[in-house]
C-alpha cells in the first residue's frame, strides 16, 4: 500500500478477497465492515461496583496508542470523540477482579455502535479485568492496553452474546519492560464475531500469554486473528487457543501470526491451536504463521490440529468402566477445562461450562 494505511480515507470497503477478510461472511456484518456505513459513538462499558486502586472515566480525545490498518478499527477511531479509560494505579495490587459490562439501554442491533477503551496498568500494579459482553448488539470496538514496567495484568473478555450479535474488535496490548500480560478470550456467543488480539512489546523481559476458547454452534461465525510482534529482544509469548464446533454452518477461524523481527534476539514463542469437530457441516480454519528474521532466539514453534475425538482418550476412559457417551462429555469438558481452569475464576468457569453443556444437548456425539 502506498498511502498511509492507518488512515480510514485511504481504505475501501473489504470485498472478502483481502487476506484479512477472506474467511469472513461479509454479508452477515450488517454493514459494520463498510467504510461508509454510519456508526454511533456510544461509550457502552460500565463498571460493576467500586474499589480502590483504579479509576474508570470517560476522557476526550482521539489519540491512539498504536497503529492499525484494520478498516473497522479505523472506523471506530474516526467515529468516536471519547475514550473510556480504566486506570490502574501504579503499585496497586487489586485482588478482586474489576468487572466491566455492556450497558445495552437504548441500544439496538439495527444501530451499529463504536466503543473505545484504554486500560492503563500502572507500573508494578497487579490486577484482573473482566469484560462481559452479553445481549444483542452490533458493535465495533477497540481496546488498547498499556502495561507499564513490571505490571501484571490478567485481561479476560467473555463473548456470551445472543445469536443476532455482530461484534468486530481489536484488543491491542503494549507490554512494558518486565511486564506480564495474560489474556483470556472466551467466545461462546454471537452470530458474527471477529476479534483481533494483538500484542507488541515495549521493553525486554516482557511476556504475553494469550489463551482462548471458542465454541461455535450452527451458523455461528467466530474468528480470532492473533498477531504478536516481537520487535525487541528478550520477550516471550505463548498462544494457546482451543475451539469446538458442532452443527451445520458452524465456522471458526483461528489465525496465529507471530513475527520475530531481526532485532528480537532472545525471543521465546510458542503458539498452539486445537479444534474439536463434533459434527459434520462444521468448518474450522486454522492458520499458524511464524516469520523469523533472526536465528538468535530461545525458541519458536507452532502447532495446529483439527479433528474429531481422540479415540485413545475415549478408549482409556471407557476401559475404566465409563460409558461411551459419558466419556465423550468428559473429554469435551476436559478439552475446555485445560483453558478455563487457568482463569481461576470459579463462577465464570461454571457459567461457561454450563453454556457449553447446553450447547451440547441434543448433539449426537
Amino acid at each position: 500500500m502506498t498511502l498511509a494505511s492507518n488512515i480510514l480515507e485511504n481504505h475501501t470497503t473489504p470485498t472478502g478477497r483481502e487476506e484479512a477478510w477472506r474467511f469472513a461472511p461479509l454479508a452477515r456484518t450488517r454493514g459494520l465492515h463498510e467504510v461508509e456505513s454510519a456508526i454511533l459513538d456510544r461509550p457502552s462499558l460500565k463498571v460493576a461496583g467500586s474499589g480502590s486502586g483504579f479509576s474508570f472515566t470517560l476522557i476526550d480525545g482521539r489519540e491512539s496508542l498504536s497503529k492499525t490498518d484494520d478498516v473497522v478499527v479505523l472506523k471506530v477511531r474516526n467515529g468516536t470523540s471519547h475514550v473510556q479509560e480504566l486506570k490502574i494505579e501504579k503499585n496497586a495490587v487489586i485482588a478482586e477482579p474489576i468487572f466491566l459490562s455492556r450497558d445495552l439501554s437504548g441500544s439496538s442491533v439495527e444501530v451499529a455502535e463504536a466503543s473505545r477503551l484504554v486500560i492503563r496498568a500502572g507500573s508494578h500494579s497487579q490486577a484482573t479485568v473482566v469484560i462481559e459482553n452479553a445481549g444483542a448488539m452490533t458493535l465495533a470496538e477497540e481496546i488498547e492496553i498499556l502495561l507499564e514496567d513490571g505490571a501484571q495484568l490478567r485481561f479476560v473478555t467473555l463473548q456470551e452474546w445472543s445469536d443476532e450479535t455482530v461484534h468486530i474488535g481489536r484488543h491491542h496490548a503494549i507490554v512494558g519492560r518486565d511486564a506480564t500480560f495474560s489474556s483470556y478470550v472466551i467466545t461462546v456467543g454471537g452470530g458474527f464475531v471477529r476479534l483481533l488480539p494483538t500484542v507488541e512489546y515495549a521493553g525486554p523481559g516482557s511476556s504475553a500469554e494469550l489463551f482462548g476458547l471458542y465454541f461455535a454452534t450452527a451458523n455461528q461465525f467466530l474468528e480470532h486473528r492473533i498477531h504478536v510482534d516481537h520487535a525487541i529482544p528478550h520477550a516471550k509469548s505463548r498462544v494457546h487457543y482451543k475451539g469446538a464446533l458442532s452443527g451445520n454452518g458452524a465456522h471458526t477461524v483461528w489465525i496465529g501470526d507471530v513475527f520475530i523481527r531481526a532485532a528480537a534476539e532472545g525471543t521465546d514463542t510458542y503458539e498452539l491451536n486445537r479444534n474439536l469437530l463434533l459434527s459434520d457441516g462444521a468448518r474450522a480454519d486454522s492458520v499458524p504463521n511464524l516469520e523469523i528474521e533472526t536465528g538468535e532466539i530461545v525458541g519458536a514453534g507452532h502447532a495446529s490440529t483439527t479433528g474429531r475425538f481422540d479415540d485413545e482418550q475415549l478408549f482409556y476412559l471407557q476401559s475404566r468402566g465409563i460409558p461411551a457417551d459419558e466419556a465423550r462429555k468428559l473429554v469435551i469438558r476436559a478439552f475446555f477445562m485445560e483453558i478455563l481452569s487457568k482463569l481461576a475464576l470459579p463462577e465464570i468457569e461454571e457459567r461457561i461450562a454450563a453454556t457449553i453443556s447446553k450447547d451440547l444437548q441434543g448433539v449426537e456425539l
Binding site: 478408549f315 482409556y316 476412559l317 471407557q318 476401559s319 475404566r320 465409563i322 459419558e326 468428559l330 476436559a334
Partner: protein, 250 residues
C-alpha cells in the same frame, strides 16, 4: 471362582495394505487367583492380545471366543468389559489433559461399583492406596497422566487396579521403564492386591526381574501371534538365558 477363557482367538488390524492378521489362534484359560506370565519377542502380538481383550476398536476379531464365566466378552462394549471385571494396565497409558486424577478415579469407581463412593471413606481409600504406591498426594490434582514420567504412569495404572478391584487384570509391560525401587513398589502393590483379592493376572513382560517379585503360576511363550510353549516359573529363566531363537522361525 471366575474363569477367563480365550479360545482360538484371531485378530487383525487394518493397515494401508489391507487387513493384517496379528493373532493366529490364541488359547489361554485363566482362573481366579492364578498368575500367568506371557513373554515373547517384540511385535509378536502381546499388546494386541491385551487390547483385544479390553475391546480396543482398532483390533478386529476375525475368529475365536473370549468368555468370562461363560459370558461372551467379545460382544461387550469396552466399558461393559470393565464392569464385568476386566482391567488393562496399559503399556503406554494415555494422557487426558483437563481431567484431574481425582475426578477420573471417582468417575471410574462410580461407574464400576454402580454407585458413587461415600465422600469420607473415598478420600481415605485413595490416600491410602496412593501412599502404598509411594505416590505423592499432589498427583490427585494433576491431569490424568499428563506430564507423568514413565514410572509414574505405571504406578497410576496399578493405583486404578487397586481401586477398581477387577476379577482379571492384564498388566502389559507394567515393569518396563521402572527403576529398581519403583519396580519393588509396583510389584508389592500387585502382590497386595493379590493377597487381598482373588484377582487373576495376565502379566506381559520381557524380563524375569518382575517375576522374582510376582511369582507366576504359569509362563507362556508368545511368538508370531500365538502361544508356542507353556511351563512353570523355570521356563522364564530359560527364556532369559537363551532368548526366543528356538521359537522364532525365519
Amino acid at each position: 471362582m471366575s474363569t477367563l477363557e480365550i479360545k482360538n482367538l484371531q485378530v487383525s488390524v487394518e493397515t494401508e495394505e489391507g487387513s493384517k492378521q496379528i493373532l493366529r489362534g490364541v488359547d489361554l484359560t485363566i482362573k481366579s487367583g492364578e498368575t500367568h506370565a506371557i513373554m515373547g519377542p517384540n511385535g509378536s502380538g502381546k499388546s494386541t492380545l491385551a487390547y483385544s481383550l479390553a475391546g480396543h476398536p482398532k483390533y478386529q476379531i476375525t475368529g475365536g471366543t473370549v468368555t468370562l464365566d461363560g459370558a461372551n466378552v467379545l460382544e461387550m462394549s469396552v466399558d461393559e468389559r470393565a464392569k464385568a471385571g476386566l482391567f488393562l494396565a496399559m503399556q503406554y497409558p494415555v494422557e487426558v489433559p483437563g481431567i484431574s486424577v481425582s475426578n477420573f478415579l471417582r468417575t471410574a469407581v462410580t461407574a464400576i461399583r454402580g454407585e458413587a463412593p461415600k465422600v469420607r471413606t473415598w478420600v481415605t481409600e485413595v490416600k491410602t492406596a496412593m501412599a502404598d504406591l509411594s505416590m505423592d498426594p499432589a498427583f490427585s490434582e494433576r491431569n490424568v497422566n499428563e506430564g507423568f514420567s514413565g514410572g509414574e504412569k505405571k504406578r497410576h495404572e496399578i493405583l486404578q487396579m487397586e481401586l477398581l478391584k477387577p476379577k482379571f487384570a492384564i498388566l502389559d509391560e507394567t515393569d518396563s521403564g521402572l527403576d529398581v525401587d519403583a519396580l519393588r513398589v509396583v510389584s508389592e502393590g500387585v502382590n497386595r492386591i493379590k493377597s487381598n483379592s482373588d484377582v487373576g493376572i495376565l502379566l506381559i513382560t520381557h524380563y524375569t526381574r518382575i517375576l522374582k517379585y510376582i511369582k507366576p503360576d504359569f509362563v507362556h511363550v508368545f511368538a508370531a501371534g500365538r502361544i508356542v510353549e507353556e511351563g512353570g516359573a523355570e521356563l522364564a529363566e530359560k527364556l532369559e538365558e537363551k532368548g526366543y531363537a528356538e521359537y522364532v522361525t525365519a
